[in-house]
């Protein structure tokens, strides 16, 4: 498909006039739609993964089946997933199946990082906490989660970047977002749309990556300081 759009790469490839004329009513809404899809999906995925991860870190036997199922979800080709979801009763076309699929894709990496983050808390730190009389809940919220947070945010980073990329395909089932520009660009053989959509999606992914990396570092002030 992309070869179609890039057939006549030439001086006319990037039509700046089109960009300035359609910025407000086509490009910006697409960008906003994309941000909405990505944020909503990551947020929902996090709401599911956090308690799931905590539960799994407590009931270890649940870990293999959980990674198996989320791994299976992760391996479904995105286009196929979108089409299957559309076919489900009560779902249909639009952003809903896109968000469902994006959430499903994020679960594996998010749950795994929640568990890895909690696992990374040193045994002796937990033992000291218990020995000093912290309750299980206090150990979770005051010790385990704060120490796991940077690893969890690292997972959010990977999930977000992945989601921003996959979300473009959601336009195929009327999910909106930057994919809208790309798909119409391809079907109308108008490369500018494709390029604008792709560049914005890439920029968004890079920006999210940098922002979350910054957050990850900020959440670990104790690791920045080193013995002189």
């Amino acid at each position: 498909m992309s070869s179609l759009a890039l057939q006549d790469l030439g001086p006319k490839t990037l039509d700046w006039t089109w960009i300035s004329n359609n910025f407000g009513d086509e490009i910006l809404p697409a960008l906003q739609g994309h941000i909405f899809l990505s944020l909503t999906s990551v947020a929902i995925a996090l709401v599911i993964s956090l308690p799931m991860g905590i539960l799994v870190s407590r009931y270890r036997k649940a870990y293999p089946p959980v990674t198996f199922i989320t791994g299976l979800l992760f391996s479904i080709p995105s286009l196929a997933a979108f089409m299957l979801l559309v076919a489900l009763p009560g779902v249909g076309l639009g952003p809903v199946p896109v968000i469902i699929a994006l959430v499903a894709y994020s679960l594996l990496v998010l749950i795994r990082n929640v568990v890895a983050g909690i696992d990374s808390v040193p045994e002796e730190t937990k033992d000291a906490a218990r020995g000093m009389g912290l309750t299980n809940r206090q150990i979770l919220f005051r010790v385990e989660l704060p120490l796991a947070l940077p690893v969890i945010v690292a997972g959010v980073r990977i999930a977000t970047v992945t989601i921003i990329g996959i979300a473009t395909i959601g336009a195929y089932i009327n999910g909106g977002g930057l994919g809208e520009l790309i798909f119409t660009g391809i079907s109308r053989n108008f490369p500018t749309r494709v390029i604008v959509g792709a560049v914005l999606a890439t920029l968004m992914a890079v920006l999210a990556d940098v922002l979350l990396l910054w957050l990850e570092r900020r959440l670990r002030p104790w690791a920045r300081v080193r013995r002189a």
């Binding site: 033992d127 000291a128 218990r130 009389g133 010790v143 104790w222 300081v225 080193r226 013995r227």
Partner: protein, 323 residues
């Protein structure tokens, strides 16, 4: 007072107990050292005091009350807890780490701040310099000091210490031991102290409980009595073939009946605070049969002889064999 009453522990899925019929008392203000080879159940025994491990049978009384009379978390907040791996919270500052238990039991902020500074001073860390730091910024020895300070924070009458000076080099360990003994003279806590190192046990303990594999109490007594009269082959081999010398290291020259010094200027000079083992070493090293005991305040106190020390050791050896 802490009282172990027929305490046994067998882990589920295991047929052999790790602690078996353990009964002894730790008196108020005393350091009781649990010592023994690995697998002797010493850490398990200690962890049963604050119910990190629950005994399979028997009970542990604290001031006459079973330690199950209150919830485990309530109990633990009243018992100081320091471990070898320290377990400081890496994401909390030194001040916040020390403030853990006072915070849990609801002290006011000002009181906590004052307490943190007081404790940092007590363990020899400048509050100004250290309270705002993170654990990763401290050396191993400094971290262990903070660990001990944290255990003392809410001024618990009882403290549990599992090899609290284990993770540092020998020189730092000796310094930390000395400092802690000095602190203990002031605070007079009731302490259960776990170590695998018999020398540390002898140095730190008012009483020593020697455990052998399977969690059986082999002997429970003062360091002096254990060194003078081990009750079994196991104990005498555990305390080591140099137990006579170890015992000498518990006694100071000033405790001996000194002979008057007359015209003994050529003798090696021995400070009266020196222990008998070191005094012996100095005399042997100087090739002398006797040494001149001196003190900072009153100058020459008298003389001590190798023979005197020999007699002392011999007497207790004879005592051991029931003569």
């Amino acid at each position: 007072m802490i009282e172990f009453r027929d305490v046994s522990k067998t882990y589920t899925g295991s047929s052999r107990p790790v602690v078996k019929d353990l009964s002894f008392e730790v008196l108020d203000g005393e350091i009781c050292v649990l010592v023994g080879p690995s697998g002797c159940g010493k850490t398990t025994s200690m962890r049963m005091v604050n119910r990190l491990i629950e005994p399979s049978s028997g009970e542990i009384l604290i001031d006459g009350e079973p330690n199950t009379a209150m919830s485990a978390t309530q109990l633990r907040r009243r018992i100081g807890y320091a471990i070898q791996q320290i377990g400081l919270f890496p994401h909390r500052t030194i001040a916040d780490n020390i403030a853990t238990v006072p915070g849990l039991v609801g002290w006011e902020k000002a009181r906590i701040t004052a307490r943190v500074d007081e404790l940092l001073e007590l363990v020899g860390l400048d509050p100004e310099q250290y309270r705002g730091r993170y654990p990763a910024e401290l050396s191993g020895g400094q971290q262990q000091r903070v660990g001990v300070a944290r255990a003392m924070a809410a001024d618990p009458p009882i403290m549990l210490m599992d090899e609290p000076f284990g993770a540092v080099d020998p020189i730092t360990r000796h310094r930390l031991q000395d400092e802690f003994l000095r602190i203990q003279q002031e605070i007079k806590k009731t302490i259960v102290f776990v170590t695998h190192d018999i020398d540390e046990a002898i140095k730190m303990g008012d009483k020593i409980a020697i455990l052998k594999e399977g969690g059986i109490l082999a002997q429970y007594d003062t360091p002096e009595n254990i060194l003078a009269a081990p009750t079994s082959e196991f104990v005498s081999s555990f305390v080591g073939s140099d137990r006579v010398l170890k015992r000498l290291s518990l006694m100071r020259v000033s405790e001996m009946d000194l002979e008057p010094a007359n015209g003994s200027d050529t003798l090696p000079r021995i400070d009266e605070r020196t222990n008998l083992k070191d005094a012996l070493s100095e005399m042997i090293g100087a090739g002398a049969e006797r040494g001149l005991v001196v003190s900072d305040r009153s100058g020459v106190r008298g003389t001590i002889s190798i023979q005197q020390i020999k007699n002392l050791s011999h007497r207790t050896e004879a005592g051991r064999h029931g003569v």
